[in-house]
Symmetry: C2
Subunit: 144 residues, 2 copies
Amino acid sequence: MFSKACEYAIKATIYIADQSNRGRRVGLKDISKQIASPEAFTAKILQQLARNQIVDSIKGPNGGFAIDSGKMSKIKLSQVVLAIDGDSVYKGCGLGLKECSAKQPCPVHEKFKVVRDELRKMLESTTIWELSLGLKTGLTFLHR
Amino acid sequence: MFSKACEYAIKATIYIADQSNRGRRVGLKDISKQIASPEAFTAKILQQLARNQIVDSIKGPNGGFAIDSGKMSKIKLSQVVLAIDGDSVYKGCGLGLKECSAKQPCPVHEKFKVVRDELRKMLESTTIWELSLGLKTGLTFLHR
DNA sequence: TAAATAAAGGACAAATTTATCCTTTATTAT
DNA sequence: ATAATAAAGGATAAATTTGTCCTTTATTTA
């Protein structure tokens, strides 16, 4: 469904959000350990997230990554996916056709539309903030 | 969502089904032309589909690929996806966790479950036969 | 039986994704 | 100012996916 890079991006964003909620800024090492991802690769992904203003990055001693508390309830899961994988997974044709529409549909168009719209609705309505709540309460997990 | 190989596999299967319905056996060249896919790569994919008994392959003059008319209404789209990409896209965790369950859920578990179950239901209930109908009536298309 | 046809399969190549390493830049604290 | 810290970024490598080429095998027809 999503690329590995995108999976890491989602996990990292949620983890940073949770830590920001607890008033903690988190470093790359901590993040990649918590989400069980390769450090240098995760760094690249965090750079993309920072460029897309999904996370804030702070250089130097006591630096790290953070997400503004007010902002995290506005950031949608779709924005993270868009930044890393693009929007084709939740907007494109299921068979990869460039020109696929109700007028000129692929064979799975109607059936797939239902699923894709459900996915899109979920991604565009779910916030990073709500996904971080489970980590706070210990009800959700980022690895295994 | 699906790999390119899987997209080609789905298109090829539907095309072969349609042609089988018209009483025609189709060759690799014809298939890859119709679904706009690289010929040799498509050959590999067709081999996988044949090994998984999704299509029949016949060697020699007047050979090609076919799907038994009785069988194509029993073959589900999920079987094609399973043969090429495996079942993780419609059964696995959205964040790629190996151990993700209601008991130990990832942060997107509940939200993603709705989408994944919808996808699974669609793939497991949709037959190759019904997907081939649109080609016959000219209402659906395999390229562009 | 021989020639022609078409898929199967092996070996290889290109492209993309995933991953690593090392240097540079920005920031903080001493 | 200097040293220490941590992210940014460039170069490169490994792994996987996608794609190509050529030989082998099975089958049909002449």
